[in-house]
Symmetry: C2
Subunit: 393 residues, 2 copies
């Protein structure tokens, strides 16, 4: 008995992924990093928007006494106001600084939101495939994550969602554009989901929250628009970050926004300020709060990701891979040519290609390619992708 | 049923403090902020060391592609190495980068450490008076905080500690220099505590960790030295931050260090990397990691706090207040002239002086004065302190 059983368990279950990373590092050492095609991590490779460095410098230059000190746990009111102004337009809802709390990224936001609403045994439903960490986030605060199947194209299956909702359901957690599938939910489905949660909430006489994790909102292609969450359902909460759209994931800056129409809006905001404090975040990093306040609406050069997506999709389609061309994110989630995705991921590894098995995202029979990599990596990996699929013809 | 019962409960219990803050804000609006003497918050008022701005600018200027991206969850190895080099000297122990993890401040560090070690129902013991948030930190991760009395001078009472340790004890959490008392534990007491934990651990056949929360380590006076934790007890963990000694609490940067001699060192470090990730911190803010790597050993001008302490102590002693002159921190924790500290805090409020009742720190019959304020505030508050104590003569 040395560390917590839960943590011990997580470590031992993660041994496959750890092994993969270790082998990847070993391969890079052995063959040279340029000869290993690493698509395993969602670490954005595009530089932040040009204005970022200028704003960062200006912010540092203008730092006065107290500018690195504590501020309200919800963040600088001025920063929350700046986020709110932008959100009001994006969400077509009258968001003000009072509904926004700055957080340590989207992971911080989701943990704070779940800590605020979950009682022991409460369930959180999420469409699968899904981000692997959600189950830990729910469990951290005494909740239980249950996955709900999606349609073959990874769109919401509202019948399955309806069947999964029960008296213990406290929240539905969605992620659109989705990691790992790249899918984006259309407005009509979000409205239908909103109606479902409203109806089920009345049936069970409890508020069922819709939590929208949307760090990829700005990373969409071909004119796709990500619909407003706040106009889809009143008891909704957005948790997101600037990690992916501004390429600053290491700086841990994001926010929570509560729908101004939410029934218990004030309780939620007060509760989130408390949760942010006692979980140890206390507040989002001060300097980066002030920086992102000046970055509203900006993003990395999305056309660069679009080019990578097109290169990858064109190549893989030519070899016979089966996939949904992702309308958003920098992930592609092809079907594995054989049912056992872990075996196929190993076959790709023989070609020095590193990807993540779909099993890790509750999406067995698939694998995830994170194409936030240099164009050269995509180009040079093509022969390997071809050989791997040919092995199973 | 809208938000978690626990969070609802915390909000309603905090109503006294919230009321105090609201009244304080109202008083400042009514009488002018310069006529309200606010000693309620531990928000450092000294500027960061002069070198800080230069290092921050240099760090920003040298930022390359990828410098705001994800790094290992434990932090940049170079930064951990820089912290370890300094710690090795301070702690007189062979600390390396492998035993250090960068965190979002000390609150983040303590939450990560507790998440890593606590199983449901495990107890964490802490000497009282203590920082009010500890009980939430333990509870966040299924643990229970139990307070242990200290001696009248707020030094460790090892008999009381020995009596409190039981088969559920997983950790003892100490904070020296202490918030709210300002007390510093001498080496002989730490060695005796280490022996006690070793003995009790053998008796109950489990590892009992010593967690040292030490953000005030550098804020000490009159040549006082804060002893090494790592030479006091082998299964020890330091959780701390640069918030107070560099005056950057809003930037959320600190670290955990595990004793290189700890029995389960590798499990602890692997577990902490997982806990840091799944709690949503993911990693400490990237830019500030690189900044503090260059700030090792630096601190604000401690003599400024010493001057404030002396002014305050001299004044209050003259009026008949009873207190331990604090060897460290920027807190003074006088005895309330009447048993009911909340009543006395209200009497001070009539004099436009804002302090926190000791009851909030499990130290009833006392009150906390945070003297990290301008000298003028201390000077101008003196007549009010005099009048308040005279009311009860």
């Amino acid at each position: 008995m040395t560390i917590s059983k839960k943590i011990e368990d997580i470590i031992s279950r993660a041994s496959f992924i750890r092994k993969m990373f270790e082998e990847g590092a070993q391969m890079k050492a052995e063959y040279g990093p340029e000869n290993v095609y690493d698509f395993s991590l969602g670490n954005p490779n595009l530089p932040p928007p040009e204005k970022f460095n200028e704003i960062l410098r200006d912010t540092v230059d203008s730092c006065g006494l107290g500018d690195h000190c504590y501020m309200p746990n919800t963040g600088y009111p001025m920063v929350c106001g700046s986020v709110a102004d932008y959100l009001a337009q994006e969400q077509k809802a009258p968001v003000t600084d009072k509904e926004v709390m700055m957080t340590c990224g989207a992971s911080g936001a989701l943990n704070v939101a779940l800590k605020t609403i979950l009682d022991p045994g409460d369930e959180v439903l999420t469409p699968a495939p899904c981000f692997v960490e959600y189950k830990f986030y729910a469990d951290n605060h005494g909740g239980v994550l249950k996955t709900v199947p999606t349609k073959p194209d990874f769109q919401l299956d509202l019948d399955a969602m309806s069947a999964a909702i029960n008296p213990n359901t406290k929240a539905v957690l969605i992620n659109s554009p989705n990691n790992p599938t790249g899918q984006v939910y259309p407005e009509k489905d979000l409205l239908a989901l909103g109606e479902l949660l409203e109806k089920k909430g009345q049936e069970y006489n409890r508020t069922i929250y819709l939590i929208s994790d949307e760090p990829y909102r700005k990373i969409v292609y071909d004119g796709v628009e990500v619909p407003s969450i706040f106009t889809s359902y009143k008891n909704s909460i957005i948790g997101t970050s600037y990690s992916k759209d501004i390429s600053i994931p290491g700086e841990r800056i994001g926010f929570i926004a509560v729908n101004p129409a939410a029934t218990y809006k004030n309780d939620l905001i007060s509760g989130m300020a408390v949760a942010n404090r006692i979980l140890g975040f206390v507040n989002a990093p001060a300097l980066m709060q002030r920086v992102v306040a000046c970055m509203q609406g900006l993003s990395v050069e999305i056309s660069d990701y679009a080019r990578k997506r097109d290169m990858l999709c064109e190549g893989l389609a030519g070899f016979g891979y089966d996939f949904i061309k992702p309308p958003g994110t920098f992930y592609l989630f092809p079907r594995s040519p054989i049912p056992d995705d872990i075996e196929f991921v190993n076959a790709l590894k023989e070609q020095k290609i590193l990807v993540v098995p779909g099993t890790g995202f509750d999406g067995p029979g698939h694998f995830r390619i994170a194409f936030c990599v240099d164009d050269e990596v995509i180009k040079n990996s093509m022969p390997g992708f071809k050989k791997a699929i040919e092995k199973y013809r």
